[in-house]
């Protein structure tokens, strides 16, 4: 158990090495929406190390207990730490063996308190979390940021998704989307992110959670279109340029 001498304040460089200052390996946006039977969530499989695309098969969405699905962006090691916390939470819940199980609302509340308390200690878990699920027919979709800001809505997104996906969702989301329409809408959002977010990779998974349970799709890639005439002769309006 390391002892810090009284002369060291919270912000000295030795104390700094004990707290998260920057993220190192990061995941980019997660986008999710409510549809007729439950929640659909999409995230690509990239883990960036700064500007290097270091990992290309990272699963950023995991099922939690029987009723919830967690997607995370930001520092991936913090996501793994959160999964360890949740493992313990679900274990204790199961050990009661009382027929009851934690629903998405409860897991979201737990995550909010964890993130907020870490922020209070100036040692945040550098992640933005999306928590979706269905319990007893009630659909739930919420988000928690690394400083504890949280809310629930019919559609949420983290990181760049807030800028690029949310406007599309605000325009085109409606109640009781079918599964096919929900997937099409998510793919539309992910395609825009692929074109415009430099840390996005073209290898994504879509996860579905309904009353029956969680299904995470196999990784696949989106079709993209680059055949614009402006791309074929880009200097036509500015001779000598490149």
């Amino acid at each position: 158990m390391d002892q810090k001498p009284f002369s060291q304040g919270l912000l000295s460089s030795e104390a700094d090495s004990q707290r998260t200052l920057y993220p190192y390996v990061t995941g980019t946006s997660v986008v999710a929406l409510k549809y007729k039977d439950g929640i659909l969530m999409a995230a690509d499989m990239g883990g960036s190390y700064g500007s290097t695309l270091r990992y290309k098969s990272v699963e950023r969405m995991k099922s939690i207990g029987k009723h919830s699905l967690l997607g995370a962006s930001g520092e991936l090691s913090d996501f793994q730490e959160i999964l360890r916390y949740l493992d313990e939470l679900i274990l204790y819940d199961n050990m009661w063996d009382d027929g009851n199980s934690l629903g998405p609302k409860e897991v979201h509340s737990y995550l909010t308190r964890v993130m907020y308390n870490r922020r209070n200690k100036f040692n945040p878990l550098w992640s933005s979390l999306v928590l979706g699920g269905v319990k007893n027919g009630e659909k739930y979709l919420g988000m928690v940021s690394m400083i504890g800001v949280h809310f629930e809505d019919n559609h949420v997104a983290t990181g760049f998704g807030n800028h690029l996906a949310r406007p599309i969702l605000r325009e085109e989301w409606h109640e009781n989307l079918s599964f096919e329409d929900g997937v099409k809408l998510l793919e539309k959002c992910m395609r825009v992110l692929l074109y415009r977010d430099r840390s996005a990779v073209n290898k994504l998974q879509i996860a579905k959670i309904t009353e029956e349970g969680v299904t995470v799709s196999q990784p696949y890639s989106l079709k993209t279109f680059w055949g614009f005439s402006a791309f074929s002769n880009p200097t036509v309006g500015a001779e000598g340029s490149w």
């Binding site: 460089s13 700094d16 907020y116 922020r119 209070n120 800001v149 809310f151 809505d153």
Partner: protein, 223 residues
């Protein structure tokens, strides 16, 4: 070699405006339902108003995680109070509790700007206004949050409340009727929405009077 510094702030401003107006036998508490961060809107339907006790509500804007933590804390304290005293907390009592709770974190504040509204033990409208560290005052009306600078002068002008500088001291509650006060709140938010980018989407109005608590909504501009 310059020392590495954390480029992270524990605070954020999630925006929004709150208003509370006290009348002779009612209290109006209102807030917009927009939650934002920077130039993004996170949610258009997020309530900033919470019921702390039977006849006591709080509207808060600022950093949402701190606001929620504060509301949770007060709700827990109220439950304990009910267990110990077998009655609901009065609005002035809750007012003092809120002030003490805020000052407790004087050196790492709750970034929460609050107005407390309800009925006092005599059934008269009661509004308390706070800063982030617990300094508070009972007033006839108040506004807090991103649009407060736009709203407050309007209320000063239109509520016809007696000046706090008059002697002998007069009751600060507005002589307006409940319907007039609610109409004024709607006008005030419509105006604030025009010029404050963090205020808009929807207005939530809660009215507390002898009959109980009534909730009303009005659409605001979404831009």
């Amino acid at each position: 070699m310059t020392k590495q510094r954390a480029n992270w702030s524990p605070y954020d401003n999630n925006g929004g405006s709150c208003v509370a107006i006290a009348g002779a036998d009612y209290c109006v508490i209102a807030a917009d339902t927009r939650m934002s961060t920077g130039y993004n809107i996170l949610s258009r339907e997020y309530s900033k108003i919470t019921k702390l006790a039977d006849k006591c509500l709080m509207a808060s804007s600022g950093f949402q995680a701190d606001v929620k933590a504060l509301q949770k804390h007060l709700a827990a304290r109220h439950l304990i109070y009910q267990h110990q005293h077998n009655k609901q907390m009065s609005c002035p009592a809750m007012g003092q509790l809120l002030s003490n709770t805020l000052y407790y974190k004087r050196f790492f504040p709750y970034y929460s700007f609050n107005v407390l509204g309800g009925l006092d033990s005599e059934g008269k409208g009661c509004v308390y206004t706070y800063d982030a560290v617990g300094s508070y005052e009972r007033v006839g009306y108040s506004s807090q949050g991103s649009g407060s600078t736009l709203i407050m002068p309007f209320l000063d002008n239109q509520l016809k409340s007696p000046s706090p500088l008059l002697l002998p001291a007069q009751d600060a509650v507005t002589p307006l009727s409940e319907t007039e006060a609610v109409d004024l709140v709607k006008t005030v938010f419509a105006s604030a929405t025009e010029r404050d980018i963090y205020t808009g989407d929807k207005l939530e109005i809660v009215v507390v009077n002898a009959e109980g608590i009534r909730r009303e909504y009005m659409d605001l501009r979404k831009d």
